[in-house]
């Protein structure tokens, strides 16, 4: 098996996908992957294949829903969009992520200061 190009924590990937859909509106898998790479400026190397099981998981939890539609090049593509439950989840995750980063910043900053 080929080694993964960049480890993305599962919880993080969920948050990234939800945030992307919130900002960009309905997108297909490739679109999400492109956007992630674009925003992260290639700092975060997403293995595109791992995106699809993650999308399925989010859909099973009812946070996103999918619909077939036509892409820009007129190809048949599956579009994902955020549901109401997904929006709530995004809020929750954002909050907890912020708490976490604040904590980490304090912790690391404190260590540095000492």
């Amino acid at each position: 098996m080929a080694p993964p190009r960049g480890e993305v924590l599962q919880g993080t990937l969920d948050l990234i996908v939800l945030q992307t859909l919130e900002v960009m509106g309905p997108l297909h898998g490739y679109g999400i992957a492109q956007r992630v790479q674009q925003v992260s400026r290639d700092l975060l190397k997403l293995n595109q294949g791992t995106l699809y099981p993650a999308l399925l998981r989010l859909e099973q939890r009812g946070w996103i829903c999918s619909k077939w539609g036509a892409s820009e090049n007129n190809r048949k593509a599956k579009y994902y969009s955020l549901t109401r439950a997904g929006q709530k989840q995004l809020l929750r995750e954002t909050e907890s992520w912020e708490r976490m980063t604040a904590l980490m910043a304090r912790l690391l900053g404190g260590t540095e200061g000492a």
Binding site: G49, T50, S71
Partner: protein, 887 residues
Amino acid sequence: MYRLRILLLRLSNVFRKQHLEQDLNSELQTHLDLVADENIRRGMSPVEARHAARREFGGVEQTKELYRDRRGLTWIDSGREDVRLALRMLFKRPGFTFVAVATLALGIGANTAIFTVVHSVLLEQLPFPEAHRLAIVWSIYGHEGRAPASGPELMTIRERSRLFEDLGGIWAQSCALTGQGEPEQIKLGMVTANFLGILGTHPQLGRWFTPGDEGPGSPFVAIISDGLWRRRYGADPHMAGRAVRLNGQPTTILGVMPPGFKIIFPEGSSVPPEMDAFVPFRSSLASDPPDQSYLRVIGRLRDGASIPLAQQEIEMIAAHLRSKFTAFAEPPLNLQVVPLQGDLVRNIRPALLALFGGAGLVLLIACTNVANLLLSRAHERTREITLRIAVGAGRGRLIRQLLTESVLLFCCGAVAAISFGWGALYLLLAMQPKEMERLSAIRMDAPVFAFTFAIAIGGGLLCGLVPALGAHRIDLARSLKEARQTGHPASRRHRHVLVTAEVALGFILLVGAGLLLETFAKLMQVNPGFVPENVLTFRVSVPWEKFNNTASAVQFLRALKANLAGLPGVEAAGITSHLPFEDTLPNWYSYFWPAGAPKDQQNTIMADYRAILPGFFKSMGVTFLAGRDFDEHDVEQNLHLAIIDDTVAEQSWPGQQAVGKVLNVENGTRDTVRDNVQVIGVVKHLQYHTLTDQVRGQIYLLYPLAMRTHMAFTLKSNLGARQLLPLIRREVSSLDKDLPIYHLEFMTEYVESARRQARFVTLLAGLMAGIALLLASTGIYAVTRYSVVQRTSELGIRTALGAQAAQLFGLVVRQSMLPVALGVAIGVVLSLLLTPLLSTLLFGVRPADAPTYVAGALLLSASALIASFLPARRTMRVDPLVALRYE
């Protein structure tokens, strides 16, 4: 929270698989196309663009597999897939499948057959309601064995016990049924009125006894069996109220027992399972003499009362009995409560458990063989497995696949095993020992099938694990690069461990079977103290009602004996109250002591006593050690004489001449004087109960001193039963046309019945050892053959470098015999630990019998040697050129 939703979603996805699969494919294809479009726009060629898209994406198949895992319920989905694939694998290799299934059919089938018996005999409830509450109460005097109870004992226990709901007693008798039709001797159960209520059965016709039918002055009533009702009375629906004659006494039939009713008492309790009729006791049991012990006592415990509690209570009752009756004080009476079920199977249990253990070993050997086959096959499939990992199969999924194959194989084995077990069961039942006959039908039912498949699935998982673990360690890069595996040292080690294990297991079985075989051989050699060949026996009843005084009964028996002895072809005729190994009739035994023994030595030793008339010893070929036989003069003069066996002689007058001494024999159930009988002869001990144990000594009295209502004749003659029977009938009816003769049997058949259990166990153990030997040999053959094939190129190089064919042959045989030698060594240690468990089944041979061990080791090594010779011969034919090109 989402769990249920997700589970339902996934479950529904299982059934929409095809649709979802298309969805997934087109979604991923779109992704790849979009990436490729982008790449083309950046100036790549279309082919280049598609390759780049795939690279960027990562493993497409791996993603699909991950996606599928999450989408449906993987285990249902892939389970279905696994089974399909496994079936294809099994069909693709019919040879492999056949060998594996046949091996398993033997291994599992042996277990199925034995388990069927174990389940029916040891585990299943007796056919009585709440049978676990039924218990037998035995009387034990001092250090003697179990004895029946007397009337006062039973009545006292019944009166004082709080834990027993009710207790009753039975005494098996035999009586003449006359009236309509041929006179017939039937088995009669004299019972307390509550007896049937305790068992919980009800008559199919009429009614059971009530307390008013019991005791002195009660009417003559009886209940007959279904068998007798159908056979003799044509299933008359108005049977209740009809009158018949029992021992000449007009008796009213109250009811008919249900069909298939059996009184299931343990062997040796002298209660035959099938009684023809029951009558209530007409004497007052409470006022019986306390030393007349004849009642077999059965009780029903109250709900929730346990055997240990009942035992505590009964010990207090025994203490009360000892203080109340002097007869119970010395030797002290003790009472023992045993569960009916447990007691029934007491004798057969060790044999069945040993056989069950043996079947378990056979199964282990079969599993080892199959594990080995699977291992070889997994090895051949290394490339296939490697490829499948490379294209995205998860390792977990692969292991599951291998396990599925193995479990499926075992399940096929189980199906074959059930048919094989069915046949084996027929064999078992054809030669079942009599301890098993007493119990209800032995049959294959749901628990047996469940057991068979449980061991199949368990074994399948266990055996599948061996190659599955190997698959776990596959090094992708290396396996793909290597064109062909050459005998991987690790897997060779695995196989050698398997060979060692199966040799060790096989050795245990061989030794066990050898010890049992030795036992059986010893049993065949046992001298029972008489010559059973050409002795025809039968019984004639001498009912008191007909022969109302001693003289007329003696006269009748003597006349019949004289007439029979005078028949042409009859060498000798004798009469006895008891025949050896005839255990359906009550045994007679009581205390004895030399005349003049001090009071405290009087009630210490018991002996069986028998009533005989002159001619018994001669017809049975019994050896006289001293003194003389009875003669007709002794009978005519009604002399108080006895003949004793060497055991009683040694117990009474150790080191002295017994002839001429005087013996006192405690009185039994009849008021005949047996004090001061003079010993006129000493005979060799006769085996009456088992072939192996000397239960008690024997005292032979003349018939008038110990009368019985039915006596057995022994005719020494070289004529067959067919020639003798009409002559016997003619002689009997010429003296009394109403007397039936019954129990016609050759003495050899009685002796044979005593050997039945040993024959049964030995044959089965031998069969299992044979299977074990066969399986172990095929296992060794397979391993050696496989390693020779694997090492063809290595052997070729060795040949090319100048090794002699004989040297290579030696090398291969040596290497395959090494694990065999190790297995034998481990087997010896294990056998030394395990065979003592067999000791109750052994006779005349110690569990650590050296010759048996040596024979087992030799037999196993010889088979192993042959099994490795055959494939090793291939090395002789290895052509170095062919071998080197073998890659």
